[in-house]
Symmetry: C2
Subunit: 241 residues, 2 copies
DNA sequence: CGGTGACGTGTCGCATGCCACTCTCGCCCC
DNA sequence: GGGGCGAGAGTGGCATGCGACACGTCACCG
């Protein structure tokens, strides 16, 4: 038997497909779909589709509307604020912790992800870039030793991807993004937990500001992207830099 | 028609029942159950039970084992560490934020929850006490304006309840718990965001230490509850007080 | 001509059928 | 008597049946 034991369940495949469809915008935000239709398109029955949608609903990507269909939820400005406020609270401490706990495999994996990011950036391959960006962050989160934290933050990224993938380019080059990750990686390699945490904080904050400014601009028309939002709940004294 | 439109779906009822059963220990940690059995006991079909279990599985309370049944997961020491590390990272900033954003209704609700806690403590009604404890925290989390944060932290409490409800009494009286909440409430009422955040931090940390020490004692035998755990990832310089 | 109500279509939520797989237990062979 | 194996019961995962409800349409009535 050469048949590999890696028989991914139908449910998992459907979940991946639907998640990708929502993120890519193939299922437009705000639109309504029936489970039956989605099931037919995916070539499976309604059950696994419904179960996958339940999971997505728990994550906040869709919402069931009784006897009407399933609504693809849109990512509002407030959603972005929530996501980045949480990432600002969680990722820097996770990196601080990860720096001292990283084992050999994780360190190697982190370097590998970063290398892929660099390569993708040189090739101007946006999709691959963000793919490994996400995995870079995930390795760090898992290295913190807190699986719940890792899963939660990783899930938050889905919300952002829908807005971010195709728009981030406008305001920040792929090289800039790589540079921010390089800073984080270097400080981790140097064992500077505090510096790495601070670098991560700046990275997340920077990303947040660009995305939110852009989103606000898109909502309110061009030119008035300066919205008064404070994402950073971290400390007692906040000075808007 | 006086029939209220509040017809809770079967799924929601099943979800509540199963969650309560897991938390109360009626479904013992580590035990295996079939969907068919649970459905029969609840008087419904397999479908809503399965869907509710999928939600619980996403939350980490149970796990599906193919062709074997549904495993009720146990809360390990490490799980408690994860939960409280997250609560320490999230709840103090949430309270800091909530203090300045609390509206009239929320403030009233907060006072009401606290009053119920006091009353339950006087009546030595542990269950009602923890019920309103949870709602007290939830009001605060929601007042922070971050719904994702509120939902996430509230979900984390399920993990703790299973261990906490029947054991917390051993090391801390209900009055002590009320006192910690009174401190938080007073500082919020006084508009002292920083103080309230600090009080919340101490409250969570205190709860964590008691539960974890107790759990570690239960696991390793009595007398060696002094386990080296640092939950607090918050800042650069940690001094174990 | 405008409003209203009944009907038809489409949908979810719940129930049930079906299949492949796992585990157990007892029988049969050695 | 002991050990291996096969049949049966039980399970989750997927497919499908079924009823109640929401909404759009259109005919009918005022």
């Amino acid at each position: 038997m050469k048949q590999l034991p890696e028989t991914t369940s139908v449910n998992a495949q459907v979940l991946a497909s639907l998640r990708a469809a929502v993120i890519s915008g193939e299922l437009a935000p705000g639109s309504l779909h029936s489970v039956q239709n989605l099931a037919t398109q995916l070539g499976v029955s309604r059950t696994p589709v419904r179960e996958a949608l339940i999971k997505l609903a728990q994550q906040g990507m869709v919402r069931f509307e009784r006897n009407r269909g399933v609504r693809i939820l849109l990512t509002s400005l407030h959603d972005l604020e929530e996501v980045f406020a949480l990432r600002l609270l969680l990722e820097p401490p996770a990196v601080r912790r990860a720096t001292t706990r990283l084992d050999g495999n994780q360190r190697r994996e982190l370097r590998r992800m970063f290398a892929h990011m660099e390569k993708a950036a040189r090739a101007d391959d946006e999709f691959t870039m963000f793919e490994h960006d996400r995995r870079f962050h995930r390795v760090l989160l898992e290295a913190s030793g807190n699986a719940r934290l890792a899963a939660f933050v990783d899930g938050l990224r889905d919300m952002v991807l829908r807005r971010g993938v195709s728009t981030a380019r406008a305001s920040r080059s792929l090289d800039d993004i790589v540079a921010e990750h390089r800073a984080i990686l270097d400080l981790i390699e140097a064992g500077d937990a505090e510096g790495a945490a601070k670098a991560m904080r700046e990275h997340v904050r920077h990303t947040a500001e660009l995305l939110i400014a852009q989103e606000a601009g898109a909502d309110l028309g061009p030119g008035l992207a300066a919205v008064d939002i404070d994402l950073d709940w971290t400390g007692p004294a906040r000075d808007h830099d």
